[in-house]
Amino acid sequence: MSGRRDRLAGFAFVGPFLALYAFLLIYPLFMGIGLSFHRADLFGARRFVGLENYARAFADPIAWQALWNTFKLTVLIVLPLTAITLALALALNRATRSAAIFRGIFFASSILSVTIVTLIWRFILTPDAGLVAKIVTALGGTPPAFLSDPNLTIPALAITTIWWSVGFPMMLFLAGLQQIPADMYEAAALDNAGPWTRLLRITLPSLRRTLILVVMLQTAAQLQLFGQAQLLTAGGPSGASRPVVLLIFEVAFGRWELGYAAALAELLFLLVLSVTLIQYWAVGRAAKDER
């Protein structure tokens, strides 16, 4: 192989991507860290303030409220979503036609954009015109104010998100189930193991890696929940359903305090990054155990 020409060729092939990658991802990453140490507005005026933005974040009750909302949303979404999609995968891991149709139905909502999902769910949940209201009223009840009652806005966002998100984790679990060798079940059948024994002794332990992957991917995703809250409840009433990313958006593009918004974004980034690193570590360890 011709060494020198290969070297030049190598840079020619990877260069275009690397240039964009450095300019549009790595550079903004460091720019954001720098921004978080400044007081800055949209028009370029900026002044170095050291750690002031971070100190402000830790003292800001609104930031703590947003973090607590994010935590509640993440738990209320990730736990039910994992249980539901695991159950669906177990039920639908079959070579029948009806199972294929069901899989298609459960995956369909995942292809919609957040705007369409919130548009649909607004007119499911809204108390005067929504589908739930029509059903509850027909049964003689009073429709709950899902989008304005401070106790119901977070559950409403969680339900909407779960409905939107079942497809992907279900597919991951199905793929995980396909990886389990059939002879493990044949051996169990010879031992007269019942369905529950097979589930607890073979299926779930074999799915450990997929389970970790689903929980961690979903946690990282839901920590960054944004569009649903912005469109469905606008974070209200009075911040009761405002997650961290919506706060960052409001601080940056409503109040134009870019430095403070950047500091909040860096803090959330640390949180998401730790979840991602735990995921790499845990999936790697589970993979090693399987060998």
Binding site: F17, G130, T203
Partner: protein, 275 residues
């Protein structure tokens, strides 16, 4: 578990109930979109019975901004998809097949990007694009989507799996690096191109946060941003049926892509789990 066994009645009931919950909101949306706005104004329960009309869909096609937003979404999504396929194929081939200084470190450097979420870079990127006067433009909407570290990783893995004898045979015939890449190897990566392409298209089509802050003029709205503004100004617009018809209309292109590329989507999901 026997994959050919039928579902137990209890499991079947559960799955059917779940499917009903998945479908009911979609059917409700379609029903609302087929009703006259004045009737829905009185009572949305009127959607359960006729008369139904296609008037709302006609209103979209004749003189609404929705068709314009659809065109913007198509330009942005197709532009992003084409760009990602070109950049990731080139880089994937380079990392998989060529020997150059710092190759390993550069590849690790790209993989680090997988751990950087959008919200960590979106504010400074917004500033950067403001300085470059790229907001409210197609390049401004397309460029951020071209940075796809996962695509590079995916294509590199695919190129690595192709037999090395192909390269040697072609080089003996005197083919240049680029001819080898373009004529011999690239055609073999078509399945990977399809998978990466579909995912990039879906992601770009459904992207919300970046177009929301970058395209602030209605003329450059993508469908997601346009529909967001339509639902926020719902009280002033021409009615619920029209709004829901927009939702259905905006889902059609993505539904068509999903139906055509179902196989690639499922295969890619399986790949993601095994990884």
């Amino acid at each position: 578990m026997n994959p050919r066994a039928r579902l137990s009645p209890l499991a079947l009931a559960g799955v059917t109930l779940g499917a009903a919950i998945m479908l009911a909101p979609l059917l409700w949306t379609i029903l609302l979109s087929l009703k006259a706005n004045s009737e829905l104004m009185r009572d949305t329960a009127s959607a359960f019975s006729g008369p139904y009309t296609l008037e709302n869909y006609r209103a979209i096609l004749v003189g609404s901004s929705v068709t314009h937003w659809l065109l913007n979404s198509l330009i942005v999504s197709l532009g992003t998809t084409a760009g990602v396929l070109v950049l990731c194929s080139l880089a994937g081939y380079g990392f998989a097949r060529l020997d150059f200084p710092f190759r390993r470190s550069l590849f690790v450097f790209v993989l680090l990007g997988l751990a950087i979420p959008e919200q960590a870079v979106i504010l400074p990127r917004h500033q950067l694009f403001a300085w470059l006067h790229l907001h409210n433009s197609y390049p401004g909407l397309i460029l951020p989507g071209l940075v796809a570290p996962f695509g590079v990783f995916f294509m590199t893995q695919y190129f690595r799996a192709l037999p090395a004898e192909l390269d040697e045979a072609a080089m003996l015939d005197g083919a240049s690096r680029f001819t080898l890449f373009w004529k011999v190897l690239l055609p073999l990566t078509r399945p990977a191109q399809a998978t990466l392409g579909v995912f990039t298209f879906l992601g770009s089509w459904n992207d919300y946060w970046w177009p929301l802050i970058s395209a602030t003029r209605s003329a450059r709205f993508t469908l997601t941003v346009g529909l967001a503004s339509a639902q926020m100004n719902y009280a002033q617009t021409s009615g619920l049926g029209f709004l829901m018809a927009q939702a259905v209309f905006a889902s059609l292109p993505i539904l068509i892509v999903y139906i055509i590329f179902q196989k690639q989507i499922v295969a890619a999901m399986a790949g993601a789990a095994v990884r």
